[in-house]
């Protein structure tokens, strides 16, 4: 599913600058994520990818520029405001609540919702998507295998009924055999109409399923194009994709 021309972006960065103390991380970054899109953000280590996600979600405040959600500037709105309006994150390394049960993890994903029936229905939906998760409901999340943790992390994010899912390196730490299935899973979620903004180091794989992509280098967007164009881009191939293979 690709973007409908003329629609307003779901999430947008307008000339965003972010600092940690005096360190300038994001430099005049512009991004736009449209409803139902699957887009990815590529970049080397410490280029500011995770910072981008945190700024989108409001966990890091930009020093200048605007974060726009559904056309509304949300710089001053807390994370909960954005989560309520359908922005959800699967954090780097999954970061489950290790000592809580799988069920409690999933329930926490729906923390801001209070439609009991809806939550029940979504739980069932997640069980049918990942039967494994249902078997392990009472197990402590920290004792799950890496693959299982990935399922719970996605399930937890889906419990918020997101319109856009921010994923921070979803394939990090997964066995090679799992990376492929993981991407298929992401596509499947995308097929249900959820926009996906994915941060990845695995550029080939990410671009092969994405509609568009950006490349971040030391906090600056250096490339912004369709996925096909990026895959074909000789600069990117040489400097970036070459290593990713």
């Amino acid at each position: 599913m690709t973007r409908q021309e003329g629609s307003t972006p779901l999430l947008e960065f307008r000339d965003i600058n972010t600092h940690y103390g005096a360190v300038h991380i994001l430099k005049d970054v512009n991004l736009a994520i449209y409803p139902g899109e699957l887009v990815c953000l590529l970049g080397g280590n410490a280029s500011g990818k995770s910072t981008t996600l945190k700024t989108l979600l409001g966990m890091v405040k930009p020093t200048s520029g605007e974060v726009v959600l559904d056309g509304e500037v949300v710089n001053d709105k807390p994370t909960s405001y954005r989560v309520e309006r359908g922005v959800t994150m699967v954090p780097e390394n999954r970061r489950l609540f290790k000592r809580l049960s799988v069920k409690e993890n999933l329930e926490l994903g729906a923390y801001l919702r209070d439609d009991k029936e809806g939550i029940e229905a979504d739980l069932e939906r997640i069980f049918s998507m990942f039967p494994r998760v249902k078997e392990r409901l009472t197990q402590k999340a920290g004792t799950l295998s890496g693959g299982e943790q990935q399922m719970v992390a996605m399930g937890r994010a889906l419990m918020a009924r997101p319109r856009v899912l921010l994923m921070d390196e979803p394939s990090m730490g997964l066995a090679p055999a799992l990376v492929q299935t993981n991407f298929e899973l992401i596509e499947q979620i995308h097929q249900e109409g959820i926009a996906i903004f994915m941060v990845e180091q695995n550029a080939n794989m990410a671009l092969s399923i994405a509609d568009r992509g950006w490349v971040l280098q030391t906090g600056k967007v250096v490339l912004d194009n369709t996925a096909e164009a990026l895959l074909a881009d000789p600069d990117l191939r040489r400097s970036y994709l070459g290593q990713a293979d």
């Binding site: 409690e104 329930e107 926490l108 923390y111 990942f130 494994r132 402590k140 066995a175």
Partner: protein, 620 residues
């Protein structure tokens, strides 16, 4: 199957000779024992507690403080964790030899100490380096006698400890139960005779169990244990934990009913000392229940919790005592009539909530260690404010507030001279606190607290307002502490800044940790065990004799718990599983190692995982 399974799959006992023991391990444990004994001797406990007889006439509490250790270490030196798939060593004479060797080595430490104390004077830095210590350690005989005696006694006790390994499991349990029964009957003499006067026949006139009755208690306890008394209790507990649904609810209701009935009846049959003690336990239980929410549920290490106790105590005092500071405007009433205390309590709760917000707001934005240090500071600041000249016109500084009236409910009066009434009041408030804690734990807020405790930034990403949620924990904790403060004021009648030392915070924290963080029943048991048995910061416990060494024991207990049982006395099943994860994983790994078929490779294992992940994704 491969040879791996054949060689390690079935653990077989390896039998060895009596002297084929691990001498290095023995030297290490023996050295530890020697250090421990010398340390205990120099704390002054043996001499200080020598007057208190446990078993007339030969065993005093002082002697016991030294002799229990060789026995325990004699046992532990032969104790090994048997991992699955590893051959266990056969039990036998070698355990006795090891125990004896450890005991003798430790005894040697004391022997050397006797000689040193007799010949050198180190009394200046070490206050307990005294002739009385020599006298006691040499049993009023010559130093040479003491030297030999301690090696022999300690060696024999170590051997006895080691010999426990040789006994069959059930007999061993019975022996340990019998020893504990004798010691507990002896140590809790004053409590038992206070509850049931008729029990006095057990004890000698100078105190201490008589020999005959010691033997009787030993035999009876052993018989009860052998007939399976202890096991049934364990089974009950396991059955309760396994139950669910209405059956479990019924059992819970039954338990609560029985417990409440016991709480109503016990103060009726006990004497004043026990009532006073239970009232103190109740007050600390209230405090610990509150701190349990802050530390146990929300994971905020608050070291200044006493601040809220102080705010509660002072607010009630100011509102009810005619002796409050002179600077209070006249519109602040003195509620010393019937029902006044209840109104004061309501205001107290409001003030505590306010204090929770004021202290919490700046503190809550910090994390981890910083937060702990800052709360420690706030705890002291509040006390210093009450002490200060600046507010002296309101709180009388060091003179404190005196003449605080009892809590008069019209039909029922709660006053310090009637500890039973205090106990009942405390129990009512505790019931309220427990209900609040329990409801909160299972609420949305409770879940948010746990999420914040586990991972604050992810909790934030879930849309949880972490600052608000943590502030709520602070406020609820403060409100519960103020209950305790209000009762405390009415009970003791006068409060001073020194009633709210940092030590109170520490004791409450130890109760929560030792009882089991995040566990309501654990907190109750912790309060009973620590404040009831050892005593609170200023309140005597059952073991009044130990009051001087109370903090030492608190510390030792805390360290031991952290090392061996971090989940607390009454673990919450989930937490204990998580804390012992490493052991579980190791066991599982070993099991996997044993069963692993050569053909199961890493690749296959990850393929299995991929299967799970892609069940619906249509992967290979």
């Amino acid at each position: 199957m491969s040879a791996v399974t054949a060689s390690t799959g079935m653990p077989t006992a390896v039998s060895k000779g009596a002297f084929d023991v691990d001498w290095r391990q023995i030297a290490r444990t023996g050295g530890l024992l020697a250090l421990g004994l010398v340390f205990i001797a120099l704390t002054g406990m043996p001499v200080g507690l020598d007057e208190r007889t446990v078993i007339e006439p030969w065993l005093s509490l002082g002697l016991l403080s030294l002799t229990f250790l060789p026995f325990v270490l004699g046992y532990t030196v032969g104790h090994e964790k048997v991992l699955e798939g590893v051959a266990a060593k056969a039990k036998g004479a070698r355990d006795v030899v090891a125990g004896a060797a450890v005991g003798a080595l430790g005894g040697l430490g004391l022997s050397v100490l006797v000689v040193l104390v007799d010949n050198f004077d180190l009394r200046d830095p070490l206050v307990n380096w005294s002739p009385q210590l020599v006298e006691m350690l040499s049993f009023d005989q010559s130093v040479g006698f003491g030297f030999v005696a301690w090696i022999a006694i300690s060696g024999a006790l170590g051997a006895a400890g080691g010999a426990l390994h040789v006994l069959p499991h059930q007999v061993r349990r019975a022996v340990v139960a019998a020893i504990l029964a004798v010691l507990l009957t002896a140590i809790f003499e004053s409590f038992l005779t206070d509850v049931i006067d008729q029990l006095e026949f057990l004890y000698a006139s100078r105190g201490g169990l008589t020999n005959v009755w010691a033997v009787v208690v030993f035999v009876v306890a052993m018989a009860v244990s052998l007939s399976g008394g202890g096991e049934k209790l364990g089974e009950r507990r396991a059955a309760y934990q396994a139950a669910s649904g209405p059956a479990k609810n019924r059992q819970t209701a039954l338990f609560i009913a029985a417990f409440s009935l016991a709480m109503i009846i016990i103060p009726l049959v006990t004497g004043k000392i026990t009532q006073e003690l239970m009232a103190n336990v109740g007050i600390f239980m209230l405090l610990a229940l509150g701190l349990n929410i802050v530390v146990g549920l929300a994971g905020i290490l608050d070291l200044g919790y006493v601040a809220f106790f102080a705010v509660g105590g002072y607010t009630t005092a100011v509102l009810t005592s005619p002796n409050r500071g002179p600077d209070w405007p006249s519109w602040v009433p003195t509620l010393d009539g019937p029902g006044g205390w209840l109104i004061a309590l309501a205001v107290t709760i409001v003030m505590a909530i306010f204090a929770g917000l004021v202290i919490g707001a700046p503190v809550i934005r910090m994390r981890g260690d910083y937060l702990a240090i800052v709360t420690l500071g706030f705890g002291e600041i509040i006390r210093l404010l009450f002490l200060s000249d600046w507010l002296g016109g309101y709180f009388n500084g060091a003179q404190g507030i005196t003449n605080i009236p009892s809590a008069d409910f019209g039909i029922f009066e709660v006053k310090g001279t009637d500890p039973r009434s205090v106990f009942y009041l405390v129990m009512v408030l505790a019931a309220i606190s427990i209900y609040i804690s329990w409801r909160l734990e299972h609420s949305r807020l409770g879940r948010a607290w746990m999420a914040v405790r586990e991972d604050e930034s992810v909790a934030e990403a879930m849309g949880i307002n972490t600052v608000n949620v943590k502030l709520m924990a602070f406020v609820v904790g403060a409100a519960l502490a103020s209950f305790a403060g209000a009762v405390f004021s009415a009970k003791v009648g006068s409060i001073f800044p020194t009633s709210f030392l940092i030590l109170v915070s520490i004791v409450i924290l130890v109760i929560v940790i030792v009882g089991g963080m995040g566990n309501i029943v654990g907190v109750m048991v912790g309060a009973l065990g620590l404040v009831g048995v050892l005593g609170g910061p200023k309140q005597p416990g059952l073991l009044q004799e130990f009051s001087e060494y109370k903090l030492l024991i608190y510390g030792a207990l805390l360290i031991w718990m952290m090392l061996n049982r971090p989940e607390g006395l009454v673990p919450n099943v989930r937490r204990s599983r998580e804390l012992h994860q490493d052991e579980f994983l190791q066991d599982a790994w070993l099991r996997g190692e044993v069963d692993r078929d050569e053909s199961t490779t890493e690749a296959e294992a990850s393929a299995n995982l991929a299967d799970g992940l892609g069940t619906n994704g249509g992967a290979s």
